[in-house]
Amino acid sequence: MKAKLHSQLQAQIKKLDSISAAPAILTPLLNMLRLPSDKIRVEKVVELVSYDGSIAAQCLRLANSPLFGCREIETVRSAVMALGLERVRSILFGLYVNRVIPQDKWVIDPDAFWRHSLGCALVTQRMAQKIEYPEPEKAYMAGLLHDLGFLVNSVLYNEDFRECLRRAAEQHVPLHVIEEQVLGFTHCESGQMLCEHWGLSKELVDAARCHHDVSLLPTAGPLACLVHLSDLLCRARYLGYGYDEIMGVDLGSDAAWQTLVTTFPALGNMDLVRFTLDIDGAMDKIVATVDSVFGVKKIAALATT
């Protein structure tokens, strides 16, 4: 039964591209940025970014946002240099995703979605740096994209997904628990398929798939574990899906934490209370950044539907 559901879902996801209104320039840009970093031509990236006014504007906005210290950056070139290629890639993905979803299809409040995604990206990256994970930018990306399944579900299963969110909010339980009951699959699975369809790396695919249950992988990679923990932390700090969850999470006993501690002993020296306070302190910045970068307008907040 599940296999049939999955193949149906997969077929639907393949059609997603055709209904999207993503600017043509995004595809070559993302293809370019998918290359190994020594193969990327920065000048070409700057050129492509400059072609699309809205993409260029987003890069400038982020480069001038509180997260990057509000410097006065006025050219696309210096914005790209200030942000770094990985960050430019993240912005592009964000934009791409934003345009894949027709405005009337948003089920979750876009503000809440981007705050959660960006919050999770920043927390994953921060945690990655703390434990000396070699690729913190990749960790950022994994955090940003882990909930792509929300968007798949919003577009393809709009009414049912709306019902999931309504029930989850009413019962104060995690969304994936209700998705399993109503849809028969979760945003983790649909997110995994979209990531695969877009040709993202296996680690990013795994992070999307396992961010609620790292035991799904025989050996969960560090990225999946990091995203799982940051997702929980963000939800515990009002950076969740826009409703209050009953939780009581013991991160130290979590399987993901245990897995990470064996690979990265530095994690054992992390004071989680301090770390959580850091997130509280960064919250204003996260919110300001989301607002300035994505400029998301509240389209269909849950409360009004």
Partner: protein, 282 residues
């Protein structure tokens, strides 16, 4: 402290909570801000104020306001803590323990705002979640003057600023001079007592506690005393019990037995049940 720093503190305290700071009492200002600077990880008051001023960070600004409010705290000061206590811990207790009496300890209760807030939360649930239960609140402090004020239960507008009109009418009576006094209904579940948290002999006798609130008290303790107090708390609590501390307080490298639990908007430490402890050892 320089004049402009004093001015800044006075302005923040006025804008934040309508407090008037006496600018000439430098020693008072400094003695209140020094622990905040230490707690927030700054080398000096000057660094704390610089950070608060230039980063305009809400948390730091509020810390300055609170310090200037002195011992005068307020009801419902940290709503997330009390909301989690009511929405997550009480139902869990109900499941685990049936209708056994609930015992809550406000350790370092100062002038009583915390235990009275707890009493209001519990009394409000008396006919709902806690129907048929009994509960009592132990409220202790080291300072006799604070305890005396707590027993009297008379508060001004600053302390009551987060208390709704409904609750004011239900649990307070007019004490004149724009002040309100806790009524007998509110006082009934609370037992006030003088306990020095460093007094081992007294600490040993506190047993069978479900939840301990000890917020912003241990920040003034050195590491060795803190370890001792927290170890006592661990024995005082029933398995599955919780310890709440202040926002910036952590048991990292203080105690290994407690487990840190993240709730929405707050964190608490839990004493594992036998089952949880066995699971952790596997």
């Amino acid at each position: 402290m320089k004049a402009d720093e004093v001015e800044f503190v006075a302005e923040v305290a006025r804008a934040g909570a309508g407090l008037s700071v006496e600018r000439d009492k430098l020693y008072v200002i400094e003695s209140r801000l020094a622990p905040v600077a230490r707690r927030e990880g700054f080398g000096s008051i000057r660094d704390l104020l610089l950070a608060a001023r230039h980063r305009r960070e809400g948390k730091l600004m509020w810390a300055v306001v609170e310090a200037m409010a002195g011992g005068e705290t307020s009801f419902f000061r940290d709503p997330a803590i009390f909301a989690r206590f009511r929405d997550e811990m009480l139902p869990e207790l109900a499941r685990r323990r049936g209708r056994a009496p609930v015992r809550v300890w406000s350790a370092g209760c100062s002038t009583g705002e915390e235990p009275y807030t707890l009493a209001m939360f519990l009394l409000e649930e008396k006919d709902k979640l806690l129907a048929g239960w009994t509960f009592d609140i132990l409220a202790t402090d080291l300072n006799d003057n604070s305890l005396e004020a707590a027993r009297a239960g008379i508060y001004g507008e600053y302390a009551l600023r987060n208390t709704s009109d409904v609750l004011r009418r239900k649990y307070f009576k007019d004490a004149g001079d724009k002040k309100l006094q806790a009524n007998d209904l509110l006082k009934a579940p609370i037992r006030f007592d003088r306990i020095n948290l460093s007094d081992d002999s007294k600490m040993l006798f506190q047993k069978g506690i479900d939840v301990i609130f000890c917020c912003n008290v241990l920040i003034y303790f050195d590491l060795a005393s803190k370890r001792r107090v927290v170890q006592h708390f661990y024995s005082n609590l029933l398995p599955g019990g919780y310890l709440f501390m202040g926002h910036a307080e952590s048991l990292f490298q203080v105690n290994e037995s407690f487990r840190l639990v993240h709730f929405l908007g707050t964190t608490a430490y839990s004493k594992p049940t036998a089952l949880q402890a066995a699971g952790a050892k596997k």
